[in-house]
Amino acid sequence: MEDSDHVAVARVRAGDEDAYRLLVDRHSRSVFRLAFRMTGNEQDSEDVVQETFLRAYKQLHRWEARSSFSTWLYRIAANYSLDLVRRRKRHGEVAMAESAGPEDDAVQALPSTAPGPDRLLFSGRVQECVASTLNELSQQERTAFVLRHFEGQSIEEISAALGLSGNAAKHSIFRAVQKLRRALEPLVNTAS
Protein backbone atom coordinates (compact mmCIF):
# COMPACT_ATOMS: atom_id res chain seq x y z
CA MET A 1 0.00 0.00 0.00
CA GLU A 2 2.91 2.33 0.77
CA ASP A 3 4.09 2.19 -2.84
CA SER A 4 0.68 3.08 -4.15
CA ASP A 5 0.45 5.88 -1.57
CA HIS A 6 3.66 7.28 -3.02
CA VAL A 7 2.19 7.13 -6.51
CA ALA A 8 -1.05 8.79 -5.41
CA VAL A 9 0.80 11.60 -3.61
CA ALA A 10 2.98 12.18 -6.67
CA ARG A 11 -0.16 12.48 -8.80
CA VAL A 12 -1.75 14.97 -6.40
CA ARG A 13 1.45 17.01 -6.33
CA ALA A 14 1.39 17.03 -10.12
CA GLY A 15 -2.05 18.63 -10.00
CA ASP A 16 -4.34 15.60 -10.17
CA GLU A 17 -6.65 16.45 -7.31
CA ASP A 18 -8.80 13.35 -7.85
CA ALA A 19 -5.85 11.16 -6.90
CA TYR A 20 -6.36 12.46 -3.39
CA ARG A 21 -9.57 10.45 -3.29
CA LEU A 22 -7.50 7.27 -3.41
CA LEU A 23 -5.71 8.33 -0.23
CA VAL A 24 -9.01 9.22 1.46
CA ASP A 25 -10.46 5.84 0.43
CA ARG A 26 -7.45 3.95 1.77
CA HIS A 27 -7.00 5.69 5.07
CA SER A 28 -10.27 7.24 6.27
CA ARG A 29 -11.37 4.18 8.30
CA SER A 30 -8.04 3.81 10.05
CA VAL A 31 -7.89 7.55 10.81
CA PHE A 32 -11.40 7.24 12.28
CA ARG A 33 -10.30 4.33 14.49
CA LEU A 34 -7.29 6.29 15.73
CA ALA A 35 -9.43 9.37 16.39
CA PHE A 36 -12.04 7.36 18.29
CA ARG A 37 -9.37 5.77 20.47
CA MET A 38 -8.00 9.23 21.16
CA THR A 39 -11.24 11.14 21.74
CA GLY A 40 -13.68 8.39 22.74
CA ASN A 41 -16.37 10.36 20.91
CA GLU A 42 -17.94 9.42 17.57
CA GLN A 43 -18.82 12.93 16.37
CA ASP A 44 -15.43 14.33 17.33
CA SER A 45 -13.78 11.45 15.50
CA GLU A 46 -15.71 12.35 12.32
CA ASP A 47 -14.45 15.93 12.66
CA VAL A 48 -10.90 14.67 13.15
CA VAL A 49 -11.10 12.58 9.96
CA GLN A 50 -12.24 15.50 7.84
CA GLU A 51 -9.79 17.99 9.34
CA THR A 52 -6.91 15.52 9.05
CA PHE A 53 -7.42 15.06 5.31
CA LEU A 54 -7.76 18.80 4.78
CA ARG A 55 -4.60 19.57 6.74
CA ALA A 56 -2.72 16.77 5.01
CA TYR A 57 -3.73 18.14 1.61
CA LYS A 58 -2.54 21.62 2.48
CA GLN A 59 0.76 20.30 3.79
CA LEU A 60 1.31 17.57 1.23
CA HIS A 61 4.47 19.29 -0.02
CA ARG A 62 5.93 18.62 3.43
CA TRP A 63 5.57 14.86 3.33
CA GLU A 64 8.87 13.20 2.65
CA ALA A 65 8.73 10.22 0.34
CA ARG A 66 11.17 8.21 2.45
CA SER A 67 8.67 8.06 5.33
CA SER A 68 5.36 6.24 5.51
CA PHE A 69 2.37 8.29 4.36
CA SER A 70 0.07 6.65 6.90
CA THR A 71 2.43 7.42 9.81
CA TRP A 72 2.56 11.06 8.71
CA LEU A 73 -1.23 11.15 8.37
CA TYR A 74 -1.72 9.61 11.84
CA ARG A 75 0.61 12.22 13.29
CA ILE A 76 -1.67 14.97 11.94
CA ALA A 77 -4.77 13.11 13.23
CA ALA A 78 -3.25 12.53 16.67
CA ASN A 79 -2.26 16.17 17.07
CA TYR A 80 -5.65 17.42 15.99
CA SER A 81 -7.42 14.94 18.31
CA LEU A 82 -5.21 16.17 21.14
CA ASP A 83 -6.12 19.79 20.42
CA LEU A 84 -9.79 18.94 20.19
CA VAL A 85 -9.91 17.11 23.51
CA ARG A 86 -7.89 19.83 25.27
CA ARG A 87 -10.19 22.50 23.89
CA ARG A 88 -13.27 20.56 25.02
CA LYS A 89 -11.78 20.13 28.47
CA ARG A 90 -10.95 23.80 28.69
CA HIS A 91 -14.49 24.71 27.68
CA GLY A 92 -15.82 22.34 30.31
CA GLU A 93 -17.41 19.92 27.88
CA VAL A 94 -17.30 16.21 28.52
CA ALA A 95 -16.13 14.89 25.19
CA MET A 96 -15.07 11.43 26.29
CA ALA A 97 -18.31 10.46 27.96
CA GLU A 98 -19.28 8.09 25.17
CA SER A 99 -16.25 6.00 26.09
CA ALA A 100 -16.29 2.75 24.20
CA GLY A 101 -19.18 3.53 21.90
CA PRO A 102 -22.53 1.86 21.55
CA GLU A 103 -22.12 -1.44 23.30
CA ASP A 104 -25.57 -2.59 22.22
CA ASP A 105 -24.52 -2.30 18.59
CA ALA A 106 -21.37 -4.24 19.33
CA VAL A 107 -23.37 -7.02 20.95
CA GLN A 108 -25.96 -7.09 18.15
CA ALA A 109 -23.22 -7.26 15.58
CA LEU A 110 -21.91 -10.50 17.03
CA PRO A 111 -22.52 -13.57 14.91
CA SER A 112 -24.76 -16.36 16.22
CA THR A 113 -21.70 -18.40 17.08
CA ALA A 114 -20.70 -15.76 19.63
CA PRO A 115 -19.48 -16.87 23.05
CA GLY A 116 -21.98 -17.59 25.78
CA PRO A 117 -23.54 -14.97 28.08
CA ASP A 118 -20.86 -15.31 30.80
CA ARG A 119 -18.10 -14.68 28.32
CA LEU A 120 -19.99 -11.72 26.82
CA LEU A 121 -20.58 -10.24 30.24
CA PHE A 122 -16.91 -10.62 31.11
CA SER A 123 -15.78 -9.15 27.82
CA GLY A 124 -18.19 -6.22 28.30
CA ARG A 125 -16.69 -5.54 31.74
CA VAL A 126 -13.16 -5.62 30.32
CA GLN A 127 -14.13 -3.21 27.52
CA GLU A 128 -15.79 -0.89 30.00
CA CYS A 129 -12.74 -0.96 32.24
CA VAL A 130 -10.36 -0.30 29.31
CA ALA A 131 -12.48 2.64 28.13
CA SER A 132 -12.78 4.22 31.57
CA THR A 133 -9.07 3.80 32.30
CA LEU A 134 -8.14 5.35 28.95
CA ASN A 135 -10.39 8.28 29.85
CA GLU A 136 -8.49 8.75 33.09
CA LEU A 137 -5.11 9.01 31.38
CA SER A 138 -3.67 12.46 30.71
CA GLN A 139 -3.97 13.46 27.07
CA GLN A 140 -0.23 13.02 26.56
CA GLU A 141 -0.31 9.53 28.07
CA ARG A 142 -3.34 8.57 26.03
CA THR A 143 -1.92 9.85 22.75
CA ALA A 144 1.47 8.23 23.27
CA PHE A 145 -0.15 4.94 24.30
CA VAL A 146 -2.66 4.87 21.42
CA LEU A 147 0.08 5.60 18.88
CA ARG A 148 2.33 2.88 20.34
CA HIS A 149 -0.25 0.21 21.12
CA PHE A 150 -2.84 0.52 18.36
CA GLU A 151 -0.88 2.19 15.59
CA GLY A 152 2.44 0.46 16.16
CA GLN A 153 4.46 3.67 15.96
CA SER A 154 7.96 3.65 17.37
CA ILE A 155 8.92 5.78 20.37
CA GLU A 156 11.02 7.90 18.03
CA GLU A 157 8.01 8.56 15.79
CA ILE A 158 5.80 9.34 18.79
CA SER A 159 8.27 11.78 20.28
CA ALA A 160 8.51 13.58 16.91
CA ALA A 161 4.72 13.64 16.54
CA LEU A 162 4.14 15.10 19.99
CA GLY A 163 7.18 17.38 20.17
CA LEU A 164 8.55 15.45 23.17
CA SER A 165 11.94 14.03 23.99
CA GLY A 166 12.35 10.25 23.55
CA ASN A 167 12.38 9.81 27.32
CA ALA A 168 9.24 11.85 27.86
CA ALA A 169 7.41 9.83 25.19
CA LYS A 170 8.64 6.58 26.76
CA HIS A 171 7.56 7.63 30.24
CA SER A 172 4.11 8.65 29.01
CA ILE A 173 3.70 5.12 27.65
CA PHE A 174 4.99 3.55 30.89
CA ARG A 175 2.60 5.60 33.00
CA ALA A 176 -0.31 4.65 30.74
CA VAL A 177 0.60 0.96 30.96
CA GLN A 178 0.93 1.16 34.76
CA LYS A 179 -2.52 2.70 35.08
CA LEU A 180 -4.06 0.13 32.75
CA ARG A 181 -2.33 -2.63 34.64
CA ARG A 182 -3.62 -1.44 38.01
CA ALA A 183 -7.16 -1.26 36.67
CA LEU A 184 -7.24 -4.38 34.49
CA GLU A 185 -5.01 -6.91 36.20
CA PRO A 186 -7.53 -7.95 38.87
CA LEU A 187 -10.14 -8.43 36.13
CA VAL A 188 -8.10 -10.35 33.58
CA ASN A 189 -6.43 -12.48 36.24
CA THR A 190 -9.79 -13.78 37.46
CA ALA A 191 -10.40 -15.07 33.93
CA SER A 192 -7.05 -16.81 33.51
Binding site: F36, R90, H149, I173
Partner: protein, 246 residues
Amino acid sequence: MSHLNEEQLVLYYYGEETAGVEDHLGECEACREGYHALQRVLNSVDSLPVPERGADYEARVWRNVEGALPRKRGFAERWFTWKPLLTAGAMAALVIAAFLAGRALQKPKGPIVADSQVRERILLVAVGDHLERSQTMLVELSNAGTSKGGQLDISYEQRAAEDLLESNRLYRQTAVSAGDNATASLLEDLERVLLEVAHSPSAMSEEQLKELRKQIEDQGILFKVKVFGSQVEERQAAPPSGSPVL
Protein backbone atom coordinates in the same frame (compact mmCIF):
# COMPACT_ATOMS: atom_id res chain seq x y z
CA MET B 1 20.62 -12.72 38.68
CA SER B 2 18.78 -9.37 38.66
CA HIS B 3 15.22 -9.38 37.40
CA LEU B 4 13.83 -7.38 34.50
CA ASN B 5 11.93 -4.26 35.47
CA GLU B 6 8.48 -3.32 34.20
CA GLU B 7 9.85 -0.79 31.75
CA GLN B 8 12.03 -3.41 30.09
CA LEU B 9 9.05 -5.74 29.84
CA VAL B 10 6.88 -3.01 28.27
CA LEU B 11 9.60 -2.17 25.74
CA TYR B 12 10.02 -5.86 24.97
CA TYR B 13 6.26 -6.29 24.47
CA TYR B 14 6.33 -3.51 21.88
CA GLY B 15 9.50 -4.81 20.25
CA GLU B 16 11.47 -1.68 21.22
CA GLU B 17 14.10 -3.45 23.33
CA THR B 18 14.86 -7.09 22.84
CA ALA B 19 18.58 -7.43 23.57
CA GLY B 20 19.06 -9.91 26.39
CA VAL B 21 15.39 -9.85 27.43
CA GLU B 22 14.39 -12.96 25.54
CA ASP B 23 17.28 -14.99 26.97
CA HIS B 24 16.45 -13.79 30.46
CA LEU B 25 12.78 -14.71 30.06
CA GLY B 26 13.85 -18.17 28.94
CA GLU B 27 15.76 -18.68 32.18
CA CYS B 28 13.79 -16.78 34.82
CA GLU B 29 10.35 -18.04 35.79
CA ALA B 30 9.46 -14.99 37.92
CA CYS B 31 10.11 -12.59 35.04
CA ARG B 32 8.29 -14.91 32.63
CA GLU B 33 5.23 -14.83 34.87
CA GLY B 34 5.47 -11.04 35.15
CA TYR B 35 5.66 -10.78 31.39
CA HIS B 36 2.65 -13.04 30.88
CA ALA B 37 0.63 -10.92 33.32
CA LEU B 38 1.59 -7.81 31.34
CA GLN B 39 0.70 -9.56 28.09
CA ARG B 40 -2.76 -10.48 29.40
CA VAL B 41 -3.45 -6.86 30.34
CA LEU B 42 -2.18 -5.33 27.11
CA ASN B 43 -3.90 -7.96 24.97
CA SER B 44 -7.18 -7.19 26.72
CA VAL B 45 -6.83 -3.53 25.69
CA ASP B 46 -7.33 -4.68 22.10
CA SER B 47 -10.90 -5.61 22.98
CA LEU B 48 -11.88 -1.93 23.07
CA PRO B 49 -14.61 -1.63 20.42
CA VAL B 50 -14.64 1.09 17.80
CA PRO B 51 -18.00 1.93 16.18
CA GLU B 52 -18.27 0.47 12.69
CA ARG B 53 -18.62 2.86 9.76
CA GLY B 54 -21.11 2.20 6.96
CA ALA B 55 -20.20 0.77 3.57
CA ASP B 56 -20.31 4.24 1.99
CA TYR B 57 -18.04 5.79 4.61
CA GLU B 58 -15.12 6.57 2.32
CA ALA B 59 -17.43 8.18 -0.26
CA ARG B 60 -19.02 10.30 2.48
CA VAL B 61 -15.65 11.48 3.78
CA TRP B 62 -14.51 12.29 0.26
CA ARG B 63 -17.65 14.36 -0.44
CA ASN B 64 -16.95 16.47 2.65
CA VAL B 65 -13.23 16.78 2.00
CA GLU B 66 -13.52 17.46 -1.73
CA GLY B 67 -15.86 20.40 -1.16
CA ALA B 68 -13.36 22.02 1.16
CA LEU B 69 -10.14 21.47 -0.79
CA PRO B 70 -8.44 24.81 -1.46
CA ARG B 71 -7.69 24.24 -5.15
CA LYS B 72 -11.33 23.91 -6.16
CA ARG B 73 -12.35 27.18 -4.55
CA GLY B 74 -13.35 30.31 -6.37
CA PHE B 75 -12.73 33.80 -5.08
CA ALA B 76 -15.69 33.87 -2.71
CA GLU B 77 -14.79 30.47 -1.30
CA ARG B 78 -11.12 31.38 -0.95
CA TRP B 79 -12.22 34.03 1.49
CA PHE B 80 -13.35 31.21 3.74
CA THR B 81 -9.79 29.84 3.86
CA TRP B 82 -8.97 33.00 5.77
CA LYS B 83 -12.19 32.94 7.76
CA PRO B 84 -10.89 30.83 10.65
CA LEU B 85 -7.85 33.08 10.91
CA LEU B 86 -9.91 36.25 10.74
CA THR B 87 -12.34 34.73 13.20
CA ALA B 88 -9.53 34.11 15.67
CA GLY B 89 -8.46 37.75 15.48
CA ALA B 90 -12.05 38.97 15.70
CA MET B 91 -12.71 36.68 18.65
CA ALA B 92 -9.66 38.05 20.43
CA ALA B 93 -10.89 41.59 19.85
CA LEU B 94 -14.41 40.71 21.05
CA VAL B 95 -13.26 38.93 24.18
CA ILE B 96 -10.93 41.78 25.06
CA ALA B 97 -13.59 44.42 24.33
CA ALA B 98 -16.00 42.56 26.62
CA PHE B 99 -13.31 42.27 29.27
CA LEU B 100 -12.42 45.96 29.16
CA ALA B 101 -16.07 47.09 28.95
CA GLY B 102 -16.82 44.94 31.98
CA ARG B 103 -13.95 46.51 33.89
CA ALA B 104 -15.03 50.02 32.92
CA LEU B 105 -18.62 49.43 33.99
CA GLN B 106 -17.72 47.51 37.10
CA LYS B 107 -19.11 48.96 40.31
CA PRO B 108 -16.82 48.94 43.31
CA LYS B 109 -18.94 46.71 45.55
CA GLY B 110 -21.41 43.85 45.53
CA PRO B 111 -21.98 40.73 43.38
CA ILE B 112 -20.03 42.19 40.45
CA VAL B 113 -17.04 40.19 41.73
CA ALA B 114 -18.69 37.05 40.33
CA ASP B 115 -19.17 38.74 36.93
CA SER B 116 -15.54 39.74 36.88
CA GLN B 117 -14.53 36.14 37.58
CA VAL B 118 -16.69 34.94 34.70
CA ARG B 119 -15.13 37.50 32.38
CA GLU B 120 -11.64 36.59 33.47
CA ARG B 121 -12.37 32.91 32.96
CA ILE B 122 -13.64 33.61 29.44
CA LEU B 123 -10.40 35.46 28.76
CA LEU B 124 -8.40 32.60 30.25
CA VAL B 125 -10.12 30.14 27.89
CA ALA B 126 -9.45 32.44 24.93
CA VAL B 127 -5.75 32.80 25.84
CA GLY B 128 -5.54 29.01 26.34
CA ASP B 129 -6.96 28.43 22.84
CA HIS B 130 -4.60 31.01 21.39
CA LEU B 131 -1.59 29.33 23.00
CA GLU B 132 -2.73 25.95 21.76
CA ARG B 133 -3.04 27.17 18.16
CA SER B 134 0.42 28.74 18.44
CA GLN B 135 1.84 25.52 19.89
CA THR B 136 0.34 23.39 17.10
CA MET B 137 1.83 25.67 14.44
CA LEU B 138 5.27 25.68 16.09
CA VAL B 139 5.31 21.88 16.60
CA GLU B 140 4.40 21.37 12.94
CA LEU B 141 7.16 23.74 11.92
CA SER B 142 9.68 22.04 14.20
CA ASN B 143 8.82 18.63 12.76
CA ALA B 144 8.84 19.68 9.12
CA GLY B 145 11.59 18.53 6.80
CA THR B 146 12.78 20.05 3.57
CA SER B 147 11.73 18.50 0.27
CA LYS B 148 14.04 17.02 -2.33
CA GLY B 149 15.11 20.43 -3.61
CA GLY B 150 16.25 21.24 -0.09
CA GLN B 151 13.54 23.88 0.31
CA LEU B 152 10.56 24.07 2.62
CA ASP B 153 7.54 26.24 1.87
CA ILE B 154 6.35 27.76 5.16
CA SER B 155 3.85 30.23 3.67
CA TYR B 156 0.93 28.44 5.40
CA GLU B 157 2.58 28.82 8.82
CA GLN B 158 3.49 32.41 8.06
CA ARG B 159 -0.12 33.34 7.41
CA ALA B 160 -1.09 31.60 10.63
CA ALA B 161 1.75 33.35 12.51
CA GLU B 162 0.67 36.76 11.21
CA ASP B 163 -2.87 36.17 12.43
CA LEU B 164 -1.67 34.80 15.77
CA LEU B 165 0.55 37.86 16.15
CA GLU B 166 -2.44 40.18 16.04
CA SER B 167 -4.34 38.19 18.66
CA ASN B 168 -1.18 37.83 20.71
CA ARG B 169 -0.66 41.60 20.92
CA LEU B 170 -4.24 42.12 22.05
CA TYR B 171 -4.05 39.39 24.69
CA ARG B 172 -0.67 40.64 25.94
CA GLN B 173 -1.96 44.21 26.33
CA THR B 174 -4.99 42.89 28.20
CA ALA B 175 -2.81 40.78 30.48
CA VAL B 176 -0.67 43.86 31.21
CA SER B 177 -3.72 45.97 32.01
CA ALA B 178 -5.09 43.17 34.22
CA GLY B 179 -1.77 43.09 36.10
CA ASP B 180 -1.07 39.45 35.11
CA ASN B 181 2.67 39.71 34.59
CA ALA B 182 3.28 35.98 34.14
CA THR B 183 0.84 35.75 31.22
CA ALA B 184 2.10 39.01 29.74
CA SER B 185 5.69 37.80 29.88
CA LEU B 186 4.84 34.47 28.21
CA LEU B 187 2.92 36.27 25.47
CA GLU B 188 5.87 38.61 24.96
CA ASP B 189 8.20 35.62 24.44
CA LEU B 190 5.70 34.04 22.09
CA GLU B 191 5.40 37.30 20.14
CA ARG B 192 9.13 37.28 19.42
CA VAL B 193 8.92 33.75 18.01
CA LEU B 194 5.80 34.51 15.98
CA LEU B 195 7.55 37.55 14.53
CA GLU B 196 10.51 35.38 13.53
CA VAL B 197 8.20 32.95 11.72
CA ALA B 198 6.14 35.69 10.07
CA HIS B 199 9.21 37.54 8.82
CA SER B 200 11.27 34.55 7.67
CA PRO B 201 11.57 33.79 3.95
CA SER B 202 8.57 31.73 2.81
CA ALA B 203 10.85 29.19 1.06
CA MET B 204 13.45 28.07 3.57
CA SER B 205 16.64 26.14 3.00
CA GLU B 206 17.72 23.38 5.38
CA GLU B 207 20.15 25.85 7.03
CA GLN B 208 17.54 28.58 7.46
CA LEU B 209 15.10 26.06 8.87
CA LYS B 210 17.71 24.86 11.35
CA GLU B 211 18.38 28.44 12.42
CA LEU B 212 14.65 29.11 12.91
CA ARG B 213 14.26 25.89 14.92
CA LYS B 214 17.22 26.90 17.05
CA GLN B 215 15.62 30.24 17.79
CA ILE B 216 12.37 28.50 18.77
CA GLU B 217 14.34 26.12 21.01
CA ASP B 218 16.47 28.88 22.53
CA GLN B 219 13.36 30.72 23.63
CA GLY B 220 12.10 27.45 25.18
CA ILE B 221 8.69 28.62 24.05
CA LEU B 222 7.13 25.20 23.44
CA PHE B 223 8.02 24.12 26.96
CA LYS B 224 6.72 27.36 28.47
CA VAL B 225 3.44 27.08 26.55
CA LYS B 226 2.99 23.46 27.69
CA VAL B 227 3.60 24.39 31.32
CA PHE B 228 1.26 27.35 31.05
CA GLY B 229 -1.40 25.13 29.40
CA SER B 230 -1.30 22.72 32.36
CA GLN B 231 -1.54 25.64 34.78
CA VAL B 232 -4.56 26.99 32.89
CA GLU B 233 -6.25 23.59 33.17
CA GLU B 234 -5.58 23.54 36.92
CA ARG B 235 -6.82 27.08 37.37
CA GLN B 236 -9.96 26.25 35.42
CA ALA B 237 -10.60 23.15 37.45
CA ALA B 238 -10.19 25.12 40.70
CA PRO B 239 -13.37 26.59 42.23
CA PRO B 240 -13.79 30.33 41.64
CA SER B 241 -12.18 32.50 44.27
CA GLY B 242 -11.89 36.21 44.89
CA SER B 243 -8.51 36.47 43.21
CA PRO B 244 -8.15 37.23 39.52
CA VAL B 245 -7.40 34.24 37.29
CA LEU B 246 -5.58 35.96 34.47
